[in-house]
C-alpha cells in the first residue's frame, strides 16, 4: 500500500508568480527613477544650482519613503501576524509593502521636507492599506492617498519652499507646473502661452518640465507600459482607454477653438497623466478585474480628469479622479461580470459614458474662451486719466485666485506709485513682506527679467505683467484718456427711489453686501426711522441677521456705531448698518430732494 501526496487543484501550474509580476514592475520603474534623479538632482548639480546633497536628494527622497512603508508593514507584521507563525521577515516582502512608498516618493514635490515625507508614507501605509486589512484588501490606491494627505495638509508649507520646482527650475521658469500655468488662461491658450514657456512638445514628451519628482516623463511611462503589457503584468485596457478618452475630449475642446493637434497632445503629456494612467490606475488591487469593468473604469477616469482639470480650480485632476473611481470599482465589477454573459446589460453605462464624453467635450469647449491674439487677456484698463504730465491708471490683472485691481500713477513716463486697491490672492502676504511693489517700481525698466517672489509666483507674475502692460500702453497710446467703460467703481450705496408724503419719507435703497446687492425699503416718519424692509437680499447668512432682530436693533439704536454686528453674518449685518447710516445721512442732508 503506497501513500501518495494528495492535493486539490490542478496538477500543473503556470509560471505566473506574484513575485515575478512585482519584479517586472520594479524593472519598469528603474528608468523612471534614474530619470527623476537626473532631472532633479544631477542636472541642477551640474548647472551649479544645487549642492552635492541636492544631487542625491531625489534618490534619498524615494529611498526614505520606500523604507518607511517597509518598516511600517514590518511593525504591523510583528504586532499582528506573529502568532500565525509566519516568517516575519518575509511578510513585508510578500505583501510588496515598499511599493506604495516607492510610488509616493515619485509623485510628491521635490521640496517636501523629510518629516512630512515620512508622515505621508506612514499615512499611506496605515490608512491606505493596513486599516483595510492589509495587502489585497484596500479600496484606495495607497500612494495616491498619501499624496492627497501631504498636499492637502502641507501644500502651503511645501509651496513656500519651492513646491514642485527643483533648484534649476526656480530660476528659469516664471510660473509653476504647466497645468497651473494653463489654469491661468482657463485652460485654453495658444501654443505660445501654454507650451512655449517650457520649450516644445518634445520637452513634455521626454519630461524636462516642472512637476513632481518622477511623474513628468511620458516617454518613459510609455516604454514601461509596453514592457509591462508584453509581460502581461498590468491591466493594459485601463491606461489605453483612459489616455484615449482624455485625448478625445481635449481634442473636442480644442477643436471648438480651432486649436491644432498639439492641444490634446499637450493635455495628455502634462499633469502626470501618463504616470498616473500606467502605474496608479492599474494598481491590481484597486482596479476592476473584469474586462468590461476595466474599459468603463478607463472611460470614467478620463471624463473625471477632464472635468476636474477644467471645471474645478484644483490642479490635481488625475489624483482625485483615480481616488473617486476607486470607490466605484465594485459596481463596475458587478456590471462587468454580468456583461460577460450578456453584453447588452452593460450598454447603459457605456451610453452614459459616451454622452458625457461628447457632451462635456463640446460644452467645456464652448464655455471657456480663447484669449485674443496679441493682447494679454487678463489685463484690462478700467480708466486712465491725464492731468498734465501725470497719468493715473486704474487697471486689473488676473492673479492666482481672482483679479488684482491697482492704481498706477505715471509721471513723465515713469511709474511713481503703485497702489493695490483690491486683491484676493492667497499668498499676498509674501508679496508684502518682500516689498515687491517697491521693487517693481525700482526695476520697472527691466521687469521682464526680474524675479518673482517664491511661493507667490503667480501673483508676482501677475503684478509684473500688470506693470509691463501699463507701461506698454503708455508707450503706445500716450496720454490718450480712457473713460472707464462700465461703471466698474460701483458705489456701495445708492438711493433708487425716494418719495415723501407729509412727514413720511420712503426710500428704496441698494447696498453692496456679501452676496451682491441688498435692496431695501426704509421708511422715515417724523424724522425717525420707523421701518426697514428687506426687498432683495442675496446674502447667504441673511436669515441669521433677520433672526437676531437686527433690524429692530438698528431702528431703535440712538447711535448706529454702538450696534454690534451679528456673529456669523458680520458682513451682511455691517452692510445693512451702512445702508441705514447712508440713508439717514441722505435724509438728514437733503430732506426735500427727489
Amino acid at each position: 500500500m503506497k501513500e501518495f501526496h494528495v492535493s486539490k487543484g490542478t496538477h500543473i501550474r503556470s509560471n505566473n508568480k506574484t513575485s515575478r509580476m512585482m519584479f517586472h514592475l520594479l524593472i519598469a520603474l528603474i528608468p523612471i527613477i534614474v530619470f527623476a534623479w537626473y532631472k532633479n538632482g544631477l542636472q541642477p548639480f551640474l548647472n551649479g544650482d544645487a549642492t552635492f546633497y541636492g544631487m542625491i536628494l531625489p534618490l534619498l527622497f524615494v529611498g526614505v519613503s520606500t523604507l518607511t512603508t517597509f518598516l511600517v508593514e514590518l511593525l504591523y507584521g510583528v504586532l499582528f501576524k506573529k502568532k500565525r507563525g509566519m516568517d516575519i521577515l518575509k511578510y513585508p516582502i510578500e505583501t510588496y509593502s515598499f511599493f506604495p512608498g516607492l510610488f509616493l516618493g515619485l509623485i510628491l514635490p521635490i521640496n517636501t521636507s523629510f518629516p512630512i515625507l515620512i508622515l505621508g508614507a506612514m499615512f499611506a501605509t496605515i490608512v491606505g492599506k493596513l486599516v483595510f486589512g492589509g495587502f489585497g484588501h484596500n479600496i484606495f490606491n495607497p500612494a495616491l492617498l498619501g499624496r492627497l494627505f501631504v498636499i492637502a495638509t502641507y501644500g502651503i508649507v511645501i509651496g513656500e519652499i519651492g513646491g514642485y520646482l527643483n533648484p534649476s527650475e526656480l530660476d528659469a521658469v516664471t510660473t509653476a507646473t504647466p497645468l497651473t500655468n494653463a489654469s491661468l488662461v482657463n485652460g485654453i491658450g495658444t501654443y505660445q502661452t501654454l507650451v512655449e514657456p517650457y520649450g516644445s512638445l518634445w520637452n513634455f514628451f521626454f519630461g524636462t518640465i516642472p512637476g513632481a519628482v518622477g511623474e513628468t516623463s511620458a516617454f518613459l511611462c510609455i516604454l514601461a507600459f509596453l514592457y509591462l503589457s508584453f509581460q502581461r503584468v498590468i491591466k493594459w485596457k485601463i491606461p489605453v482607454v483612459y489616455v484615449l478618452t482624455v485625448f478625445f475630449m481635449t481634442f473636442l475642446i480644442g477643436n471648438y477653438h480651432d486649436l491644432g493637434i498639439w492641444y490634446p497632445l499637450f493635455e495628455i503629456l502634462s499633469g502626470g497623466l501618463m504616470f498616473g494612467a500606467v502605474f496608479m490606475a492599474t494598481d491590481p488591487v484597486t482596479s476592476p478585474t473584469t474586462p468590461v469593468g476595466q474599459i468603463l473604469y478607463g472611460l470614467f477616469l478620463g471624463i473625471l480628469t477632464v472635468v476636474f482639470r477644467y471645471l474645478t480650480p484644483l490642479p490635481e485632476g488625475v489624483l482625485t479622479s483615480i481616488l473617486t473611481m476607486n470607490l466605484f470599482v465594485f459596481i463596475l465589477d458587478r456590471i462587468g461580470s454580468k456583461a460577460r454573459f450578456n453584453f447588452v446589460k452593460s450598454v447603459i453605462p457605456f451610453l452614459i459614458a459616451w454622452v458625457l464624453i461628447l457632451g462635456l467635450g463640446v460644452w467645456i469647449g464652448s464655455s471657456h474662451s480663447l484669449p485674443e491674439e496679441g493682447t494679454d487677456p487678463n489685463y484690462t484698463i478700467e480708466s486712465k486719466q491725464v492731468d498734465g504730465d501725470t497719468v493715473t491708471y486704474i487697471v486689473t490683472e488676473k492673479g492666482y485666485v481672482g483679479p488684482i485691481r491697482a492704481q498706477i500713477i505715471l509721471e513723465h513716463g515713469t511709474i511713481r506709485s503703485i497702489e493695490v486697491l483690491s486683491q484676493s490672492e492667497s499668498f499676498y502676504s509674501r508679496i508684502e513682506s518682500a516689498d515687491y511693489i517697491d521693487r517693481l517700481i525700482e526695476n520697472q525698466n527691466n521687469l521682464e527679467e526680474y524675479d518673482t517672489v517664491s511661493g507667490a509666483t503667480v501673483t508676482s507674475t501677475a503684478l509684473k505683467k500688470m506693470v509691463i502692460n501699463t507701461l506698454n500702453d503708455y508707450r503706445v497710446n500716450g496720454k490718450e484718456e480712457v473713460e472707464g467703460e462700465e461703471e466698474t467703481v460701483e458705489p456701495d450705496f445708492e438711493v433708487l427711489e425716494k418719495a415723501s408724503s407729509g412727514t413720511t419719507t420712503t426710500y428704496i435703497v441698494t447696498q453692496k453686501s456679501f452676496g451682491g446687492k441688498t435692496r431695501a425699503e426704509i421708511v422715515f416718519e417724523e424724522g425717525q426711522v420707523s421701518s426697514i424692509e428687506i426687498l432683495e437680499a442675496p446674502d447667504t447668512y441673511q436669515n441669521t441677521v433677520i433672526d437676531a432682530d437686527y433690524l429692530e436693533e438698528l431702528i431703535n439704536a440712538s447711535d448706529l456705531n454702538d450696534v454690534d454686528a451679528v456673529s456669523g453674518a458680520t458682513i451682511t449685518s455691517g452692510a445693512w448698518k451702512e445702508m441705514l447710516a447712508s440713508t439717514i445721512e441722505d435724509y438728514e442732508g437733503g430732506a426735500d430732494e427727489e
Partner: protein
C-alpha cells in the same frame, strides 16, 4: 475570439510509442457505478460463473444501461476499491480464468449499416457504451431523439496535456473509426460528419486525410491548439459557429468522443459490449510511459508494474485523469474504468502556499465559461449575490487555478459556490 489559452502539451512522452496491451489481470473489479450513480441492480451473485461480456449489473432508473464483465471467470465476491473521482466504490470481484470465453458466439458483420435506427440505439445500449472521453454518459441517449440530427461531431481534440489515448487509438484504428462514422451517418440519417482535430497534430491529420477521401459526408476540421478546446460548447462554437442553451441536440448536433466511436464500431461489427479501452499511462515518474489497451476493472498498479513501475517510490503524485481535471489519489489501487482516459504519475514538487489574492483579473480573462472567479470567491459569504454570477456554468476545467499568480486554489471556491447556489 480566444476561447481558451495555450498550455503546455506534454504529449511527447507517449505519442511516439507503440501501444502496449495489458490484458491478463488476475482479478478484475467491475465497479457498480454508472456516471456517479451507485444505484445498480446486481445480477451476478457470488460464486456465479460469468462470461466475458455477460451482464452483471444494470443501472436503475431511466438510463437502464447494463454493466458487463470484461473477463470470463468466477465471481469471487464484492470489494470496495478507489474510483477515479476520489471516492471508494463497491465492485464485483471476478477471478479471471484467462479463457476469454464469450456467452454466445457472434458472427462479425461485413457491413455495419444494416441496422435500423431503433436497432442501433438498442444495440449500443445493450453493449453498455458510455462516453469514453471522461464523462461516462450513456451514448444511446444522445441518439434516442425525434429531433433531426444534422451533424455528428467527432471530438478527437484531446486538449488536456499528457493524454494521448484518443490519438493512439486513431493512429491504429483509423479506417475502422471512419467506417463506423459512415455507418452511423447512414443509420441515423445524419447529414454530415465532422472530425475535429488539433491543428498541430500533423501526423494524425495526414493519416485521416489519406482515408477520408472515400467518405463524402465526413469532413476534417482543424481547431486551434488551446485548452479547453475539447469542451463541447467551445468545440461547437469553433466548428459550427453556433451556441446552444442546454444540449447540442437543440441545434441538431451530436458530439461523440472518438474512442466512443471505436466502441460503437466493435458493437456494430461484432456486437461486442464495452470491455476494454486504451488508457495513457504517463508522467515523469513512470519508467516507461505509454498508451496501454486495458481491460475494464484492472487495478492500475498491475498495469504500472507491467510497464516497469515507478522511477522512485517517494514524492509521487498519482492522478486519475488529466493534469487539469484529474483527481489525486492516495494510492495506486485505482481500477481502470470506462471513463478513465489517463493515469498520470508526477513528481511531487514543493507546492507553494497560496498568498493573498492580487485581484489581477487573470482568472477572469481565461475562464472559458465567462465566469468571474475572483468575484465568486469574494461573494461566497453572500449567497444572494452569488446567483447573478452564475457559478453553475463552471465546467471545472481548472484554468483559473492554473493561471493564478498567487497560487490560490480558485476552482475549489467556484465548486463551493456551485454547491451553495444549488442548496440555497
Amino acid at each position: 475570439m480566444m476561447i481558451g489559452i495555450k498550455i503546455p502539451g506534454m504529449k511527447k512522452l507517449t505519442n511516439t510509442k507503440k501501444n502496449g496491451i495489458y490484458n491478463k489481470p488476475k482479478y478484475v473489479y467491475i465497479p457498480l457505478i454508472s456516471q456517479n450513480d451507485t444505484n445498480i441492480t446486481i445480477i451476478a451473485k457470488k460464486g456465479d460463473y460469468v462470461y466475458k461480456g455477460s451482464v452483471i449489473g444494470k443501472r436503475k432508473g431511466n438510463l437502464r444501461i447494463p454493466i458487463h464483465s470484461s473477463v470470463s471467470g468466477t465471481v469471487v465476491g464484492f470489494e470496495e476499491r478507489p474510483y477515479l473521482n476520489g471516492s471508494i466504490v463497491k465492485c464485483v470481484k471476478i477471478e479471471n480464468d484467462f479463457k476469454e470465453k464469450e456467452e454466445v458466439k457472434k458472427e462479425s458483420h461485413k457491413t455495419l449499416n444494416h441496422y435500423t435506427k431503433k436497432q442501433f440505439i438498442n444495440l449500443i445500449k445493450e453493449c453498455g457504451i458510455v462516453g469514453l472521453g471522461g464523462a461516462g454518459f450513456p451514448t444511446y441517449v444522445k441518439y434516442d431523439t425525434d429531433k433531426p440530427i444534422k451533424t455528428l461531431l467527432i471530438n478527437a481534440v484531446e486538449c488536456e496535456p499528457y493524454i494521448t489515448a484518443d490519438y493512439a487509438l486513431m493512429m491504429e484504428k483509423c479506417e475502422e473509426i471512419l467506417e463506423a462514422i459512415d455507418a452511423i451517418l447512414e443509420i441515423c440519417h445524419i447529414d454530415e460528419g465532422i472530425i475535429a482535430v488539433k491543428k498541430n497534430n500533423t501526423s494524425l491529420i495526414k493519416l485521416i486525410n489519406s482515408f477520408i477521401g472515400t467518405y463524402l459526408k465526413i469532413k476534417l476540421v482543424e481547431v486551434p491548439n488551446q485548452y479547453p478546446m475539447g469542451w463541447e460548447r467551445n468545440l461547437i462554437k469553433q466548428v459550427k459557429h453556433v451556441t446552444y442553451q442546454n444540449l447540442p441536440i437543440e441545434k441538431g448536433i451530436v458530439v461523440n468522443n472518438v474512442s466512443t466511436i471505436y466502441a460503437i464500431y466493435e458493437a456494430l461489427k461484432y456486437e461486442r459490449p464495452l470491455t476494454e479501452r486504451v488508457v495513457t499511462f504517463t508522467g515523469e515518474m513512470l519508467k516507461e510511459p505509454k498508451n496501454v489497451l486495458v481491460k475494464l476493472g484492472t487495478p492500475a498498479h498491475e498495469v504500472i508494474e507491467s510497464l516497469g513501475g515507478y522511477k522512485r517510490n517517494k514524492n509521487i503524485r498519482f492522478v486519475a485523469g488529466g493534469p487539469m481535471m484529474g483527481v489525486a489519489e492516495p494510492n495506486d489501487d485505482l481500477i481502470v474504468t470506462s471513463n478513465l482516459n489517463c493515469v498520470l504519475v508526477l513528481k511531487e514538487g514543493k507546492e507553494s502556499l497560496p498568498s493573498e489574492c492580487l485581484r489581477c483579473g487573470k482568472c477572469v480573462s481565461v475562464c472559458p465559461a465567462k465566469l468571474s472567479p475572483v468575484l465568486i470567491k469574494d461573494y461566497l459569504k453572500k449567497p444572494e449575490r452569488l446567483k447573478e454570477l452564475e457559478p453553475n456554468r463552471c465546467i471545472e476545467c481548472g484554468l483559473c487555478t492554473y493561471i493564478c499568480p498567487s497560487k490560490i486554489l480558485v476552482r475549489e471556491f467556484v465548486k463551493e459556490a456551485k454547491k451553495k447556489s444549488r442548496e440555497g
